[in-house]
């Protein structure tokens, strides 16, 4: 697979190898995109088309009927608003807490700094199910069950964000901070006026990651909202479409719902992905 090592003296062989690599690349792209393309195409089918065996691939008479039906069955607008509030507020909180803690870990000297940082990082590797049962009760006991606040508050800080910010803030020159301190700037002013702009691409990447993660998150909202459908984010409202999933007639309906849920994170991704790729590459997250 490594062309650098493979380039032989004869040109024909090398061309054949490159052609093979291109074909491979196209095949992978097709396989990767296929489920999503099929989802969108199916969402445009009429029920009659969805029933046909062998399946119809491209709808002959594309219709938005399925989207209308989704809107009748679940409260799409309300669910989108809930998702936006959950993902938006959580992301804002994560950006703030990560920036602050990352700054402290990167630039302050204090006792137990390394130990505290190690404990924080360790929580990054904790599967949420391990704490789900007491967390559910804990949030209930402070009266936040079934509310959006209950979904949001436990997630306002996370280890990944703190780690990421520490990595990038460590690269901000100390002289810059010292100069601002000599000018009498407060620590918060330094944080927001000097540190934050200097790590803006990493903040953008963290924002994308946090927003998409919490837009998509399912287990915790499902558990804490306890059937209060007024507060359901879109991913949970969608699970109601599942009762229509048994029959092929409703394929279009289910796929229309799925398409609606996918759109916001994908659109955001298209705009912010370059920050994300660059940030992962530069963060040293992979151990180098």
């Amino acid at each position: 697979m490594n062309t650098q090592g493979r380039l032989p003296a004869a040109g024909a062989n090398a061309n054949g190898w490159r052609a093979f690599l291109y074909l491979l690349m196209i095949a992978i792209a097709v396989a990767s995109a296929f489920p999503l393309v099929w989802m969108v195409l199916s969402s445009l089918k009429t029920p009659a088309e969805a029933m046909q065996t062998p399946p119809v691939w491209i709808p002959q008479t594309p219709s938005l009927e399925s989207y209308q039906k989704v809107n009748e069955l679940i409260r799409v607008g309300r669910s989108f608003a809930n998702s936006a509030v959950i993902a938006g507020v959580t992301t804002a909180g994560i950006l703030l807490t990560s920036l602050m803690a990352g700054y402290a870990f990167a630039k302050y000297r204090f006792r137990y700094r390394e130990a505290l940082f190690a404990i924080t990082i360790a929580t990054m590797f904790l599967p949420p199910i391990v704490t789900l049962i007491p967390l559910y009760r804990l949030v209930g006991s402070i009266g936040l069950n079934a509310s959006l606040a209950g979904v949001i508050i436990p997630n306002l800080a996370n280890a990944f964000g703190i780690f990421l910010m520490r990595q990038f803030i460590a690269g901000v020159p100390d002289e810059l901070l010292e100069a601002a301190r000599l000018d009498g700037a407060s620590e918060f002013r330094i944080l927001f006026r000097i540190v934050a702009p200097a790590v803006a691409p990493a903040l953008a990447a963290l924002a994308l990651f946090a927003f998409v993660y919490h837009w998509n998150s399912y287990l915790w909202p499902l558990t804490v909202l306890q059937g209060n459908s007024d507060n359901y984010p879109i991913v949970i409202s969608l699970s109601r479409l599942l009762s229509y999933n048994r029959s092929a007639v409703n394929t279009g309906l289910v796929m229309a719902g799925a398409t609606l849920a996918v759109l916001p994170p994908l659109v955001l991704f298209v705009f912010l992905q370059r920050f994300f790729v660059r940030t992962i590459t530069a963060s040293g997250m992979t151990g180098q």
């Binding site: 697979m1 490594n2 062309t3 090592g5 493979r6 690599l21 491979l24 690349m25 792209a29 990767s32 999503l36 099929w38 065996t53 062998p54 399946p55 703030l96 807490t97 990560s98 602050m100 803690a101 700054y103 402290a104 505290l116 404990i119 924080t120 929580t123 904790l126 599967p127 199910i129 391990v130 704490t131 049962i133 007491p134 967390l135 009760r137 804990l138 997630n155 306002l156 800080a157 620590e187 399912y218 287990l219 558990t223 949970i236 999933n245 092929a248 394929t251 289910v254 799925a258 398409t259 996918v262 994170p265 994908l266 992905q273 790729v277 992962i280 590459t281 992979t286 151990g287 180098q288």
Partner: protein
């Protein structure tokens, strides 16, 4: 500066971990306050490792999760290395587009992935069996048979996650200086030898990190099981996250569920520690 971030982590992660450990030794209904938990020693652990149906279901869930994780890692790591090299090293035009498409699947909510694949896998109307029939492979039962259901969930997980790991591998590949390759080529190393002696050893840390993340991700599989298979057919997709939630929250057997959580946590800690210890010993050699 530290207080908001660490405070939240203490209250919503560290305290719940401590509570989980304590509750694992109690009989407690998750619908009542913590104060109603009654200490019962190791009874919960005896039950989940015993021969009753509780024990059988739990051990089944452990085995399913282990299988699911192993299969996911065994597929994701080699694929992401292959994809990463194709995108980063082969110098093909359009490689960025492939990277974007691969990575995009990671942004798709698992619920949508589950819904879409439940249709793709449909034995009669699903396009996957149709495509297989073009190349002469008979229809597969996918999610509807206990023999293939778990593998089917693994495949949809691999489809969703491989792009993320490809990005991690690319990050690792960019750290390998081209001068190392040039020197090796001067010494006469070619294709497979270059890969075996340069790429793979220098990717080791990246692979280790990726493997651990893939494991943690795999343990979290929930949506496809909760939505499509409900752990079936015949318990074949009953995985830990689904099982613990069903016992601890839905049936409100908080003590029993916590004992399962503690066991899962211990299993993970032991596995990850062992993997790191092994890697460190390899490195010293």
């Amino acid at each position: 500066m530290l207080a908001p971030g660490l405070g939240l982590i203490v209250v919503f992660i560290l305290v719940p971990i401590a509570l989980t450990v304590w509750l694992a030794f109690t009989k407690w209904s998750a619908q009542t306050p913590f104060s109603t938990a009654a200490f019962i020693g190791l009874d919960n652990f005896r039950e989940i490792f015993g021969s009753s149906s509780v024990g059988r279901d739990f051990k089944g869930a452990m085995v399913n999760t282990a299988l699911y994780s192993l299969l996911s890692i065994a597929l994701i790591l080699p694929l992401s290395v292959a994809f990463g090299m194709l995108i980063h090293q082969a110098e093909l035009r359009g490689a960025d587009i492939l990277r974007t498409i691969l990575f995009a699947t990671y942004m798709v909510p698992m619920i949508a992935v589950a819904l879409v694949f439940s249709k793709l896998y449909s034995p009669s109307e699903g396009p996957i069996n149709q495509i297989l029939s073009w190349v002469g492979i008979g229809p597969q039962p996918w999610l509807s048979s206990p023999d293939t259901a778990l593998v089917s969930v693994v495949l949809l997980n691999v489809w969703q996650q491989v792009g993320y790991f490809t990005i991690l591998i690319i990050a690792g590949l960019t750290q390998i200086p081209t001068s190392v390759y040039e020197a090796a080529k001067m010494d006469g190393a070619r294709g497979p030898a270059l890969f075996g002696h340069i790429t793979l050893p220098l990717l080791k840390r990246t692979l280790l990190f990726s493997g651990v993340i893939a494991l943690i991700n795999a343990v979290q599989v929930f949506e496809p099981v909760a939505l499509i298979t409900q752990g079936g057919p015949v318990g074949s997709t009953n995985v830990m996250t689904y099982h613990i939630r069903r016992v601890g929250i839905e049936r409100a057997q908080g003590g029993l569920g916590s004992a399962m959580s503690v066991t899962l946590l211990l299993a993970l800690v032991v596995t990850v520690t062992a993997v790191f210890a092994f890697a460190r010993r390899e490195e010293r050699r």
